[in-house]
């Protein structure tokens, strides 16, 4: 049992923290937001230069063979700096499908571009009525010759505007809520029949609603088994949840730090408002919530390697519950303790609150995961 980082991991943390300190303060972030697709190619290039985009890929695939802890370190740092770039969509999720089930040819076609920063991906999964159930898929993929024809609508696809390749879930067999008959397809974003409606999201990222109309792809577009890929999707989405937990921990750390600094300097009645016990206790409760979240983020990171898929999913669901509760408390109270200034676009704290809030509603909210843990027989 050991919760410390090893030497290499410490260096990784220093290097990404250093990079983001130099190139990602709140003012710089505002500029990146206005670039095409809502994030900075230059920053993405720096992440590639430091090897961060290749971190979780195996050495055979040209990566660095990093594990869950390495991804945790990166996601925490990205959270702390409120980073806009599509690391989750490209490296964690898109890359995750390739790592877990991509063929050699698929990896050769996509991984080098991810690692050198020339390609980004997006995960087209959410549908109008699917909410958080990954098996609820209405988009269809029908066989045509050797290839497939895909039809359907996907929503809130993060990085959908900029991505070169879409990873699309589609039903090859059965009814909308069947657990079998789901496949995963690599679809070029510029394929005929793909239309996108792009927009900024509440937390400053960019997403797109994507319509696929008679989109034809070859047999080589299929990742894994086209008729039975729910387990694969769950695996990769679990990794995304773990990554989001770590990002949320970074966001909470920074929110707490910023808030404590604020109440130390903001004066009312002739004294710093941080000298009032009601505010001190609130801040202490925020600290407790953030520490509980950090513990569960670490737990989820380690649970990601559990061999038993049920145990893995249960542990990660539990982590998402704790993170959801903690982030709501820390986020809301950060605004409260900032007072009026916390309500303004100008102050950075509100932007942390918004990103935290959106994380709760991504890949299952607190209630959803709490129900999962309850139905799985608990956690003791």
């Amino acid at each position: 049992m050991d919760f410390d980082l090893n030497e290499e991991q410490r260096l990784l943390k220093e290097s990404i923290d250093g990079l983001l300190t130099d190139s990602y303060d709140f003012e710089q972030r505002k500029k990146y937001m206005k670039e095409k697709g809502g994030w900075s190619q230059a920053v993405w290039g720096k992440l590639a230069e430091q090897g961060l985009l290749g971190l979780p890929f195996s050495e055979a695939d040209g990566g660095f063979g990093g594990g869950g802890v390495e991804t945790m370190i990166v996601m925490e740092a990205l959270g702390k700096a409120l980073v806009l770039e599509p690391y989750l969509a490209t490296v964690v999720i898109g890359g995750g499908f390739l790592r877990h089930a991509g063929s050699d040819a698929q990896k050769a076609a996509h991984v080098p571009g991810i690692i050198d920063g020339s390609k980004t991906l997006a995960f087209a999964q959410l549908e109008k009525n699917s909410r958080y159930d990954l098996f609820d898929v209405s988009t269809t993929a029908k066989k045509k010759g050797d290839g497939w024809v895909i039809d359907g609508e996907k929503f809130v696809v993060l990085n959908g505007e900029n991505a070169d390749t879409l990873v699309v879930t589609a039903r090859t067999k059965g009814d909308r809520r069947d657990k079998t008959g789901i496949g995963v397809f690599l679809v070029p974003a510029n394929a005929k029949g793909v239309t996108k409606k792009s927009y900024p999201t509440q937390d400053g990222l960019h997403a797109a609603d994507i319509t696929l109309t008679g989109v034809e792809v070859g047999a080589d577009a299929v990742i894994g088994n086209p008729e039975d890929s729910l387990a694969l999707i769950e695996r990769v989405v679990d990794e995304a949840r773990v990554a989001l937990c770590a990002e949320a921990v970074g966001l909470m750390d920074e929110s707490l730090k910023t808030t404590v600094e604020y109440i130390k300097t903001r004066k009312q009645f002739g004294v710093a408002i941080g000298s009032f016990q009601s505010l001190q206790h609130r801040a202490s409760d925020m600290f407790v919530a953030a520490e509980q979240a950090r513990s569960m983020s670490m737990f989820a990171t380690m649970a990601n390697d559990f061999e038993n898929a049920k145990e893995r999913s249960n542990a990660i669901a539990a982590a998402k519950v704790q993170i959801g509760k903690s982030l709501k408390f820390v986020g809301q109270q950060s605004i409260q303790l900032h007072g009026g200034i916390g309500m303004t676009m100008e102050a950075k704290i509100g932007h942390y609150f918004k990103r935290l809030t959106m994380i709760e509603n991504t890949f299952g909210d607190t209630d959803y995961h709490q129900r999962r843990v309850a139905d799985a027989g608990g956690l003791i």
Binding site: M1, D2, F3, D4, L5, Q9, V69, V260, I263, K264, G274, S275, Q277, L279, Q280, H281, A283, S284, D285, F287, V288, E291, Q292, A293, S295, M296, M298, F299, T301, M302, A318, V321, Q322, Q370, R371, V373, A374, D375, G378, L379, I380
Partner: protein, 396 residues
């Protein structure tokens, strides 16, 4: 980073677990499971079994009978002890006065007291709180005056846990009225059988008798019963209170209780089916289990940190353990109340004196719920813990 216990640690857990299985008297275990109070005999019997095994004062230095375990081994031992469950060693002797004596006492005192603490030949109680000194402990007024080779002690202590069983007390007494309030306090130990010591029971809302008022009326104590230096008692008290860090979360206790809730919820019916099949109840139970898992991990982080970097100064993370640990313990007793529903009401007129062994398992659920309100008050109330976090961690 690695969550797994080593093979050796897993083997150790098995060893501890099987020792408890073979050696904890079944009645003692049953009473703990049902939330009843144990008799003095039941506790002492078990502690002597533990001491004979060499595990009575496991965290003491080896020269005084400790085991030399790693911090992870201590964690495992505590978790197994709490979740079996078996009575925890008497904290007042083993975790509090013992370490003060072997750290600050003289050789004579070590020889005289330590073996008797280990074997519970002396039952110790704690003379800290006073009617006017709760969270503001340093304002205490109990006075010890030097008269020749004696101390003359006058004053009153309160909330003195299990003083009705005690042979010895360690006491914070004011020995210098002119110094700043923390500076004029001394740490003095003496026999509860001394002339002038009166113990009066305080009945708590659960109907139990755990705590007492203790009065000192011209109690004569030999001068050599002073531990360490005169007027340095506050330092020793801080050392004593900071010593107990990770056990405070009582993760094992809550785990055991959650297992019991799950078990009972499969039997007790609500709306014609076991209450565990009620989605709202099940989710509430899951919510508590998740909180506990997070707390367990937080505790392990502190344990691992101590193992690596030594105990050093008190870790403010222990305040997190106290706050969450007490909240979760209280939630588990609330969940038990929910399971038992209207049958929480009947009052067990026989109390915990063991006179009605056949009394049904429901009898202690409400008292245990009432009794557990204490856990967010004692040991530095949760509000004091929040002050500590604000000051020591956040710099407010």
């Amino acid at each position: 980073m690695d969550l797994a216990f080593t093979k050796e640690e897993q083997a150790f857990r098995e060893e501890v677990r099987s020792f408890f299985r073979d050696n904890v008297p079944p009645d003692t275990r049953r009473k703990l499971v049902e939330g009843r109070h144990l008799t003095k005999d039941e506790m002492v019997t078990w502690w002597r079994i533990l001491n004979k095994k060499g595990w009575g004062v496991s965290h003491w230095p080896t020269q005084y009978g400790g085991t030399g375990w790693t911090s992870v081994q201590h964690y495992i031992f505590n978790e197994e002890l709490q979740s079996y469950p078996a009575p925890q060693p008497l904290a007042f002797g083993v975790s509090m006065v013992g370490p003060v004596i072997y750290t600050f006492g003289n050789e004579e005192q070590k020889k005289q007291y330590l073996p008797r603490i280990a074997n519970v030949d002396d039952w110790w109680c704690q003379g800290f709180s006073e009617p006017g000194s709760g969270s503001d402990l340093a304002s205490l007024k109990t006075k010890a005056e030097r008269r020749g080779d004696k101390w003359i002690i006058n004053g009153q202590k309160t909330w003195t846990t299990l003083a009705q069983h005690a042979d010895m007390i360690f006491c914070l007494c004011r020995t210098d009225n002119n110094a700043k309030k923390q500076m004029g306090i001394s740490f003095i130990v003496f026999s509860m059988k001394s002339k002038g010591v009166t113990v009066r029971p305080i009945q708590t809302i659960d109907g139990g008798h755990e705590v007492n008022e203790v009065f000192f009326d011209d109690v004569e104590v030999p001068y050599e019963n002073l531990i360490g230096e005169e007027n340095k008692g506050w330092d020793y008290a801080k050392f004593l209170l900071g010593n107990e860090r990770t056990g405070i979360a009582r993760v094992g206790v809550s785990k055991e209780r959650l297992r019991r809730i799950r078990d009972l919820a499969g039997k007790v019916e609500s709306a014609g089916k076991p209450i565990i099949q009620d989605a709202a109840f099940r989710e509430k139970l899951a919510a508590c289990e998740i909180e506990l898992k997070a707390l367990e991990l937080t505790q392990l982080r502190v344990v691992a940190d101590e193992g690596k970097h030594g105990k050093g100064k008190p870790n403010p993370a222990s305040s997190v353990l106290k706050i969450k640990g007490s909240e979760i313990q209280q939630t588990t007793t609330e969940l038990l109340m929910e399971v038992i529903g209207p049958f929480a009401a009947p009052y067990d007129v026989h109390g915990d004196d063991g006179s009605n062994e056949a009394m049904d398992w429901t009898a202690q659920i409400a008292p245990s719920y009432f009794n557990n309100r204490k856990v967010s008050i004692y040991g530095g109330s949760n509000e004091i813990q929040r002050n500590i976090i604000a000051k020591a961690v956040l710099g407010l």
